[in-house]
Subunit: 362 residues, 2 copies
């Protein structure tokens, strides 16, 4: 029946991880590999909400209107500017589902979130990646390069995570506004992926009325510590969002995720406290690494890059039984850097101590 498949599915380069394999993580190690928020103080709040959930949420179909109102209030938008999605990934996929026909042009940065290249292939788009260059200060992508690439390609869709991942880089709001203005001329939809908000506080959400060609993707997986609920949202001008709702599945997300988030939205303070704690942890970690002579990059997500230089091999050896993290990158712009999801000072300390001890002894 392969002859019946949509053509993009026959692209052999559209490959996905094997679903029959899993990599269970043991409690013996600290998990700093997936940029989850495992802040134990936030987990106290979320655990308590979980224990208060009405079990009827298990057996009943979802009703979402109240959560739309709460998110609208928190984002200072309106429910007709919003659509709930399974994580920011769901909001990203919607952009392809809404706008991309086979053969359309898409620009995404590179390296970036794994799903941009995947959705480009899945929907048969031609991609024109904007490749980060290596620099002393880490991955670099100038506004000039972005604008000239957009003007040259005139893509249907431009995907711009801000902050980007894994680079941790950001564009300032004034630069994004210039991009958006150029994209109006080139008839380009701009998807701003703000998965790391409010680890990085600046946001494009306030621009939805000025720029109808922009959609912002958000998730509760990062700052809110709820990667396990698969819930996020897209924010945009109501004229666009109304078409996104035409693409809605039967229900956006699960009743249990909705019921949970309805309660959690009343605890935004706990999320902000957690962001503050993890940012303090990041600062602590960076200072300690710098004091050891290691280079750290300025990153704006909930992760931190550090280059252990010539000591990399022995430090990986020391850390391997204690913490899961990304040891290195194949991409040139981050080559030689290790990435740690940020955590609290208390949880970073034993890792820092191990590194310090190794550097003293070694």
């Amino acid at each position: 029946m392969n002859s019946n498949l949509r053509k993009p599915l026959l692209d052999p380069s559209l490959e996905r991880p094997d679903w029959q394999k899993s990599t269970p993580r043991t409690n013996e190690k600290l998990w700093l590999d997936k940029n989850e928020n495992l802040d134990p103080y936030l987990l106290e709040v979320t655990s308590s909400i979980l224990s208060e959930l009405n079990p009827m949420t298990l057996s009943t179909y979802p009703e979402c209107a109240e959560l739309y109102r709460k998110i609208a209030k928190w984002t200072n938008t309106s429910p007709d500017s919003l659509i709930l999605t399974p994580g920011s990934d769901g909001a990203i996929r919607l952009a392809f589902e809404a706008f991309i026909n086979e053969g359309d042009s898409v620009i995404h940065t590179l390296p970036t979130f794994a799903m941009y290249p995947v959705y480009s292939k899945m929907f048969g788009a031609k991609t024109y990646p904007l490749v980060y260059e290596k620099s002393e200060d880490g991955p670099k992508l100038t506004l000039e390069k972005i604008l000239s690439h957009i003007n040259e390609i005139k893509p249907k869709l431009f995907c711009l995570p801000n902050p980007d991942s894994p680079t941790g880089t950001v564009l300032e709001l004034k630069d994004i506004k210039r991009i958006l203005a150029v994209c109006i001329e080139t008839n380009t939809i701009v998807l701003i992926d703000e998965a790391y908000h409010p680890f990085y506080e600046d946001t494009c959400v306030g621009l939805i009325h000025e720029f109808k060609n922009m959609i912002v993707a958000r998730t509760f997986a990062k700052a809110w510590g709820l990667a396990g609920l698969r819930i996020g949202y897209a924010v945009g001008n109501p004229e666009i969002i109304k078409f996104y709702h035409k693409l809605r599945p039967m229900y956006e997300v699960s009743t249990i995720s909705i019921a949970f988030m309805e309660k959690m939205m009343d605890h935004a303070d706990a999320m902000y406290d957690s962001v503050r704690r993890l940012s303090e942890g990041k600062k602590y970690f960076c200072e300690e690494m710098k004091s050891l002579g290691f280079k750290v990059l300025k990153t704006h997500g909930n992760f931190q890059h550090v280059s252990f230089g010539n000591s990399a091999e022995k430090i990986h050896e020391v850390l391997k039984n204690h913490v899961l993290y990304r040891e290195d990158f194949k991409e040139e712009c981050l080559s030689g850097y290790s990435r740690f999801s940020i955590t609290t000072i208390e949880k970073f300390r034993p890792i820092v101590d191990l590194i310090k001890k190794e550097m003293k002894n070694g």
Copy 2:
């Protein structure tokens, strides 16, 4: 930016319910309107599993391999025959995503699950509905009519819920095998939607190796009583399922739904007990309705149709403060019938008593 949208989204008949409205249901009434499984004994089991969930499932990304193994075991298939989806709705959408290009032909029954016409429009398919006829025994669709329609249209995709909803009708396995054989000749993919399994026990899952043109959609929302988790799956020949996985989002479903189902799969007995209890409730309800002279249809889902005939108006009036149900259908083949989700004898009894009392007095 409307000019950038995929053309099917501009179809004005692609309409969806308003996401800013909700219809909260109060605890004063029995909810028999959405074919959920609200069996209180099953809810005891699911509540207990909910209370035992590790709160870390909230904050961590999913790992699915173990659940694939458990579902493979329960369905007597293999993990490479399966893909997890957000409810059976997600499995249905995948069929459109995998096979439908704009302008392709789709056959679905009518009336049927609301999303078949919606996905047909969303993906720009031309639809050729197979309309159920009204008969003394309820909605009727003959094998001859189905086969001749398929031979005439030669569709890319044929969507066949078995049992169908809202009709409650089924096709026997031997008839489905004839359809599948014809569909091989017409190069048609057949989607068998078994959302109501095992309220109706016969299944096409055993045919996945014989018929590579067939995919079965399943959900945990009905018999398993877990409409609030949005989890289901598609089963098919590994040659097809491998392409479905190319369409997989970042994660199929939430960590919390996966963690829950991993435990729940060890309690299949509780699900079977619930199906038995609700089937007894259905039998009780049907017998009581027949004893009052009302016509009931033979239905195979977790719902029951009854025609209150000339007494309809007064019975709706009597029941309206006590139970939510579907009073009537606009579709000719079910016109004059009311639909109740089935429940336990204990929960049906007060409803039956109200109807009996009204018929005695009235």
